[in-house]
């Protein structure tokens, strides 16, 4: 089955709510990543069920970011299998991985990464544009979902850190991805905004979203359904 066929058969029916409960969104087996002689990840195996909210935790250098990069198809494992929403993605070409990423993954970054010269609404529409067709009404709906409809015409520089991160989450949501990957989403936020963003992620989980949160904050990890711990590139027992 080709990538496009798989994507067609996996079409979701609701824009902001996930469907097809009961299937694994992430299934990795014996995953490893080496940078020359250095093994960043070794024999990592776990799965994530649809609608689950899990945290990947571990100290600095434990391989969290490397694992996140592989999960988001921004990097490739040097060994092992990775199935995303039923598709074996590790062996796909770069172009095919790009297609899978824009169709199935929503990314939330610690540093927000909003285009500085586009408004909040346009930043959300940009993800739509690369996915299919930019739709202003849908993008506005996504901003409403994160409580920022009134700030739609503001540039990132005119928004607070918490607001920028909520725009980032709206951008991750807009294409109804099978998986939301959030890399330290509260790392640059104060306590109030941290609470706001985590509350938003919990609400998304309640709506049936599958979310993988990478964090080193134990308090945040406790608010997820399950914690996957890494230690020296391996799953901690």
């Amino acid at each position: 089955m080709t990538v496009s066929n798989q994507l067609t058969s996996d079409a979701t029916s609701s824009r902001f709510g996930s469907t097809e409960q009961g299937r694994m969104v992430i299934d990795i087996r014996g995953l490893g990543k080496r940078f020359g002689a250095v093994a960043a990840l070794q024999d990592v195996s776990f799965d994530v069920q649809r609608g689950e909210f899990i945290a990947i935790m571990g100290p600095s250098g434990s391989g969290k970011t490397t694992l996140l990069n592989i999960l988001s198809l921004l990097d490739r494992p040097t060994e092992g299998d990775y199935h995303l929403d039923g598709i074996a993605v590790a062996s796909l070409t770069e172009r095919e991985q790009t297609v899978i990423r824009r169709e199935k993954i929503g990314l939330v970054f610690q540093q927000f990464h909003l285009i500085p010269y586009l408004s909040a609404l346009e930043n959300v529409m940009l993800a739509q544009h690369y996915h299919s067709v930019a739709d202003r009404e849908e993008a506005l709906e996504a901003l409403e979902h994160v409580g920022l409809a009134q700030r739609r015409d503001h540039l990132p520089s005119q928004l607070s850190g918490g607001e920028q991160q909520r725009v980032c989450i709206a951008r991750a949501l807009i294409n109804a991805p099978a998986l939301i990957l959030a890399d330290e989403p509260t790392g640059n936020l104060d306590a109030d905004n941290e609470g706001l963003v985590m509350g938003l992620l919990e609400r998304l989980r309640d709506e049936g979203r599958t979310i993988v949160l990478v964090t080193h904050n134990p308090d945040l990890g406790e608010r997820t359904d399950r914690i996957v711990r890494l230690q020296h590139g391996r799953l901690a027992s």
Partner: protein, 434 residues
């Protein structure tokens, strides 16, 4: 969305884009100036070169057949055969008549200059100074050495062509005789001391740097009267606008019969000095029209070299602009690496990212090119007026050509930055590693 992004992103890093546009504008200015001058320089240089003398000499056919023995021409007919002055208008009736910018007949005769007991054997030459030549199909054609030989310098005034007593005395002769403009000089024609004597008024002292400096130059009619040869001339110097010589023209030097029929047609219908000379021979029976190759070749060589120089300078300007744009775009790509990484992470196809940056570059190229065209024509006009004393024609073709060169320049400058965009990995820029 693409246009909206292009519009918004174009105003990002404005200073750098203004700098890039200014660089392109400078190159476009230079290219426009050189292009305008290069196109015009052929005509202008050809006109300018005509002021350094004629490039075709027409003589009776008998004169053109030297009988050389030991390097000395013993042709008994040399100087004894003549052309008819009334045939001069025929030269303005050839295919390339509009390229004939001047023609001056000459008739030389020996004479003796006498003043205060001093007698010197000299040559008196009759010619047109500023003569209205009647043409059957036109009002007339004004021509003469004043127009053709602009390097001739006269201290005093030019003689009137209708005058039978005014003359120009060559500067070296004047020095030997101790005469000045405004004085008089007696000229005795014929070989003996009893020839007819004529007193002429010295209208001016002539300096040419040539043999005219040792003789006396008079109106043609006066020379004909002195020689007893009314309506006769010995040679015609023709000044024609010509195109630079090429292989075909050089092949034709061996004679038109050396050319194939197709080559002959092409040669005949091109304003080579040789083909114009050939056409003059066709209308003037029993004459020999010979290109003065030093002048003709000099014109061609100068024009070709100037155009080559313009080409080289333009190429250097384009290369410099492309390198500058490349450096500026590379800096832009480095500065906007996270933006590029984000687009890739969001699923943008490589061409969509290139489109954004190349689109910005094209806009910069078009703005720079448009400004350069305006500035270039202004400079070209200035150069035209200061060097050629005339403006430079604005040619519409310049606009698309220079705009295209400007855009190609920025696109060439975008090659390396585009490779940098392609090589950029989102994973390297999105997690704070850069």
């Amino acid at each position: 969305m693409v246009l909206r992004m292009l519009w918004r992103s174009f105003f990002e890093g404005r200073r750098r884009k203004i700098l890039a546009a200014a660089t392109v504008a400078l190159a476009a200015t230079l290219i426009t100036t050189l292009f305008a001058l290069s196109v015009d320089v052929g005509d202008k240089m050809a006109k300018e070169m005509t002021s350094y003398g004629s490039n075709i000499r027409v003589t009776p056919k008998a004169d053109a057949m030297p009988l050389l023995i030991g390097g000395v021409d013993y042709n008994p007919l040399k100087g004894r055969d003549y052309l008819n002055e009334r045939d001069l208008p025929k030269i303005k009736d050839i295919f390339w008549r509009n390229n004939i910018v001047g023609l001056v007949p000459r008739l030389a005769l020996p004479a003796t200059a006498e003043i205060d007991g001093t007698a010197l054997r000299i040559s008196v030459t009759g010619t047109y100074f500023d003569h209205l030549l009647p043409l059957p199909s036109d009002e007339g054609y004004r021509t003469g050495v004043r127009d053709i030989n602009r390097f001739w310098q006269v201290e005093g005034t030019w003689p009137d062509d209708a005058s039978e007593s005014q003359a120009l005395v060559g500067s070296r002769l004047a020095a030997r005789l101790g005469v000045v403009a405004g004085g008089t000089l007696r000229l005795r024609t014929g070989d003996g001391a009893d020839g007819p004597l004529r007193t002429v008024a010295i209208a001016g002292i002539l300096t040419t740097g040539g043999e005219e400096d040792d003789g006396v130059t008079v109106p043609l009619a006066m020379a004909q009267a002195m020689a007893g040869l009314p309506g006769r001339i010995q040679s015609i110097d023709v000044s024609a606008l010509t195109v630079p010589e090429n292989d075909l023209a050089r092949k034709a030097r061996r004679g038109p019969e050396a050319l194939s029929s197709e080559e002959y047609d092409k040669w005949y219908c091109t304003a080579y000095v040789g083909s114009i000379a050939h056409q003059i021979e066709e209308v003037l029976a029993d004459t020999s029209a010979r290109p003065i190759w030093q002048v003709a070749a000099g014109e061609g060589a100068v024009i070709t070299r100037i155009q080559m120089l313009l080409l080289v300078v333009s190429a250097a300007a384009i290369a410099a602009a492309a390198m500058c744009v490349s450096a500026l775009m590379n800096t832009t790509v480095l500065e906007r690496a996270r933006e590029i990484g984000l687009m890739k992470a969001l699923g943008a196809a490589p061409w969509e990212i290139h489109l954004l940056f190349v689109g910005e570059a094209v806009i910069v190229g078009l703005i720079g090119g448009a400004l350069g065209i305006l500035a270039g024509y202004a400079v070209a006009q200035g150069v035209g007026w200061s060097v050629f004393q005339s403006g430079v024609d604005v040619r519409p073709i310049t606009v698309p050509v220079v705009l295209a060169i400007s855009v190609i320049t920025v696109l060439a400058g975008s090659i390396l930055p585009s490779r940098a965009i392609a090589a950029l990995l989102p994973v390297e820029v999105l997690h704070g590693r850069r």
